[in-house]
Structures are given as C-alpha cells and as structure tokens.
Subunit: 317 residues, 2 copies
Amino acid sequence: MTITQLYYVLAVAEHQNFTKAAEKCFVTQPTLSMQIQKLEDELEVQIFDRSKKPIELTEVGKKIVNQARNIVNESYRIQDIVDQQKGFIGGEFKLGIIPTIMPTLLPMFLKTFIKRHPKVKLKIEELTTEEIISRIKDGHLDAAIAATPLEDENIKERAIYYEPFVSYIPKNHRLFGKKNIDSSDLEIDDMLLLEDGHCFRDGVINLCKIFKNHIDDKFQLESGSIETLIKLSNEGLGMTLLPYLHTLDIHESEKENLHYFNDPSPAREVSIIYHKSELKMQIIEALQDVIAGIIRGAIAFQDVKIISPLQKNNITV
Amino acid sequence: MTITQLYYVLAVAEHQNFTKAAEKCFVTQPTLSMQIQKLEDELEVQIFDRSKKPIELTEVGKKIVNQARNIVNESYRIQDIVDQQKGFIGGEFKLGIIPTIMPTLLPMFLKTFIKRHPKVKLKIEELTTEEIISRIKDGHLDAAIAATPLEDENIKERAIYYEPFVSYIPKNHRLFGKKNIDSSDLEIDDMLLLEDGHCFRDGVINLCKIFKNHIDDKFQLESGSIETLIKLSNEGLGMTLLPYLHTLDIHESEKENLHYFNDPSPAREVSIIYHKSELKMQIIEALQDVIAGIIRGAIAFQDVKIISPLQKNNITV
DNA sequence: GATATTTATAAGTTTCATTTATCATAAATT
DNA sequence: AATTTATGATAAATGAAACTTATAAATATC
C-alpha cells in the first residue's frame, strides 16, 4: 500500500470515473486502473463496484476512502511541519469566502497579502457557508472566511473582526424618521433578505426572531446580492440590513438612508476558519495578521451583540 | 514520500542505529540510508543528526517521527477495516499482561483462545502497567490486560472482571483470629508488599490510605512475586493481600490462612486496554469474549469496592 | 595505531509504476 | 439492429526507483 494508491482511490471516489480522475492526478487511465487493482488485490477486497454506472464505492470501499483521506491529509502535514519549522510561507492555499464578505473584504487585503507573501499561490473561491464547511472537511479548502460561530467540532475558528449591522431605510419607510434604530424596531415582514443559502440572511432572521418568537415564512422579496437589496429598497420595497463594510462604498446620495443601531449594535462575527488538523497553519496565521491589521483602521471598536449565522429553530438570547 | 520511507524513519528513530533498524525492516542497511536520504532531500530538511553517536533526531525530526507514527498506524487501519468487514480474526497480536495477573489468568484462557482463533499469532509479554501504557501508545503493543481505571485519554478500557482481594494472615498475626476481615483492620506497617513498579502494590497502598490518611514510606519487606510474599508471610514477617485468583492454587495447608473481606470486599478491576484508535478491534473483542466466558465460572459475582491501581497523592473516597 | 563498528557511496539487478496501444463492454444514437 | 461513444481492463514496452552486493569513509574502541 502506498500513499499514491490511496490518493488515486480518493480521486476515483470523488469523480466516479477513472478517466477523469486520472486527468486530475496527471497520469493515464491505465495507471489508475492498475494501481487500484493492485491495492484491491493486496487488501483482498473490492473497493469499487465497477458494474454500476457511474462507478460506485462498495460498503468497505466507503470506509477505506474515509481512512485513506485521513492518511493522505496526514501525509501532507509532514511537509507542513517542515515548512513551519523553516518559517516558510508559501505554496498553494485555497481560501473560501462567503458572498456577503467577498466584495468588501477581498479588495481590502488581497494586494497587501500577495505583496507580503509572494510565495503563496492564493486560490480564492466564493462559496456559501455550507459549501465551505464540507470543503474544509474533505480537504478541498485550506481555510475560509465566514460568519461564525459555526459550532462544528471539526472546524476551528479565529475571529478576525466584528462587523456591525447597519439599517438601510428608504424614505417612504415607517422607520425613516428615527435617527437611531433599536433591534426591537425590526419587523421581519418588511425586511428585504438575501435568498436562501446565504448565512447573512439567516443572521438577520435570527436577529428578528430574538424579539418576535415567530417568523412568517413568506418574505416580500429576496435577492442574491447586497447591491440588489439596496436597489430594491430604493424602489420602496422595504428596508434591509447591511454589513458595516458594505456601507463604506455606498453612493453619497444613499448615505442618508443609513441608520445605525443603538449600542449594543447587532453584529456578525467574521472569522477565518480551518480544519482542526491545523494544516498550513503558518499561512492561516499570516492571513489573519494581514486582515486584522487592515480591519483595525476600518472598523472602530464598539459595543456589539453577536448574531448567530446558523439557521436554528430556537434562539437562546 | 512513501509509507515505507516513514516506516524506515520510525525504525531508525527507535533503534538509533541504521544497521539494526535495517535488520528489523528486513532490508539491507544501504536501503535505509538511501531511502531516508531521499525523504530528507524531498522535504529539504535533516531528520537525523548523524554527527552524534548514537544517531539523534533533529528538532524537526522529532516532530516528523510523531507524524510518521500517526501515518503508519493509520495505514495499518486500512487492512484492519477490511479484516473487520470480513469478520477475519487473525494476524500477529501483541498482548501485554501485568505480572500479578499473568500467572493466574494466562493459563486459564490461553488454550481456549488459540484453539478458537488459530489464525491469531499471539505474542505475550509480561510488563508493568507503566511499560504497557507507553507501548500501547507507540504501537508496540496491540492491547494489554491490566488493573484499571488508568485515566489515560489515549487508552480505552473494557472491564473483563472484578477480582476481590483476599487477606493472607499467618498464624502469629494479630488478625488471625478474625474470621472475616474489614478494610479498616488493615495497617500498612505490618503488610508485605510487592516491590515498586507493581500496580498491585500501589493498589494495596491506596486501600490502606483510604482509612489512614498518611503512610510511612518504610515498609517492612518487599518482594517481586506473589509466591514469595506468601512464603515471607508464612515466616511470620507480616500479613499480605492476594488477588482472588491467586488463592485458587494455594497449598491446602495454607488455605486456613486466607481471610475473606466483609462486603463490599476491596477488589481490583481487571480490563483489556487498547489504543483509542481501536486497531485490531475484532481480536480484542474475541479475547474479551474468551476471558469473560472463562472467568464467569471462576469468580462469583459479589459486592466489591474498586481500588485504584494508580499512585496518587490524594485519594478521594 | 590497529581493529571494529557504522554510515555513505557506487554499480548492478530487480521490481514496479507508468505509458502507449488495444480490446471489451455497455450505453446512447442513428 | 447497426453504429457510435464512453469507459474500464489488458498487454507489452519503458523508465524510474527500490533494493542488493561490494566497497569506501568516518568514527569509535582497544
């Protein structure tokens, strides 16, 4: 049994196809066929059921794949140990970012980071929290930036900043006259929300739920981007909530629609999250340093109340 | 990097000598030299400091060895998964047993076990609890039979039986007249004990400590085997405590010296212990079944009070 | 200073992973 | 039903690499 063989098994299990898996491994298809056969011979067990189309894992195969993933990931840690010892910060680093953080945070830190750590090959992907969690677990992401706490025992979190929510209230809205908003003023029914899957949506729902114990499941309108939310709000379709960093590059004419919360302002905790195995920890720490340094100038410390980004049936306040 | 290379690193780290490590791996010494050099080249780091005699690990080397041990052990688990699936019970199985359990328990179950599981190559070693714990952790033992609880988070325990203590009191002793003994009757100062390192010694000390809050550190006599304890006791050097199974094959003439405890009798918990990774779990369960079946006829269930086998400063009763 | 011990190196062999080319089979399309 | 496409297995050839034998170099031991 070799680490390479296990890696091949993982590739085939993932792509459910020898040919595609071979491409991803940069070898030819017969190589995969033969190496996997060899492993199956050695273990005296079938890992794949080749009669099914597309190919499927056998029952033992599933268990073997899980263990193989362990071993392959743990083997990466050896180079990681060496890198850490040498203080080397480099190599490929796959980072996920949730959509509501991506457009504001990425431009702030990207330039600084690649300048300070030129040997790191950053690969950034916009993903929902759900996608991020599963990809961190299966090793397809090295780390991610998301709203926390996630309460997942396989994932560790390091908070990098707390981003207050800001109300965006169009002129025709009942709350427009109020200079400062209180959390209890919020009504889920006249709130514009992001479409399902965005954790920022869930955060806002949780915030409203704290004060009303029920929520109706039919919201007036939903959108995929915060830009659109603002435009819809301008059309008089309701108020909305924006993460603080989004309010920094809003049009001058729209700034009068921003209403800040009274202390403690509801806020989301933004963290860099990563697998508990702490692979590539030096890069994660480097990233944390860069972002924390940049955010320090952008968000003043204030009294905030963290809103959970998770969808929950019961909110404990 | 290959699993084989990591295995070679472990062997050299353990034996601190390429030649001896090579023998253990069933390859020639140049093979080890070259493969380890190759790994060092790939990682671009020295794992061993070859200037020291005997050879030493570098700082990174130590970390790499720890990780390598992980990987090699995890790789064994793949065959283990397959075996488990097939219900196969076989292969080499290294079992440790503490000295005070070995002579009584081993003859009871060995014949039955090898008859029922002929494909298992049992390798049994007599070791102290301390040695057992370190060897289970570094993978040199698959499991062991010892007195528990050990309170070690890396080691799991499965109790197989509870073995009461029996007092062995020679005729000249102040307690000889008492038919049944109470725990509170015990005095550490006239008790014969096993020499340091035996957990049965620590168990007895704990038992005495429960009733007296201090112990003197000069015991009258100490011995390495329970057989010797009985002989010393017959010479009038004091009383002693025996694990119940030892009393079964005591001379007829000495049986009158056995005094049983009133309920709840102090007892030791005897468990099969193994690494939390649960490697070779089928064999462990098979062993547990065999021993439990045999012991069921030998020790009647009774009300017991478990005495910790650990050396402790403070006993909580 | 001679001897023994131990690791590294060199050359040769064998084993094994990989590739190219081809076949077999099943599903999809005509 | 015939043909095409997709996919995995097989065979033969190649090249890499793991391993062995033989030997050198370095270090420790007497």
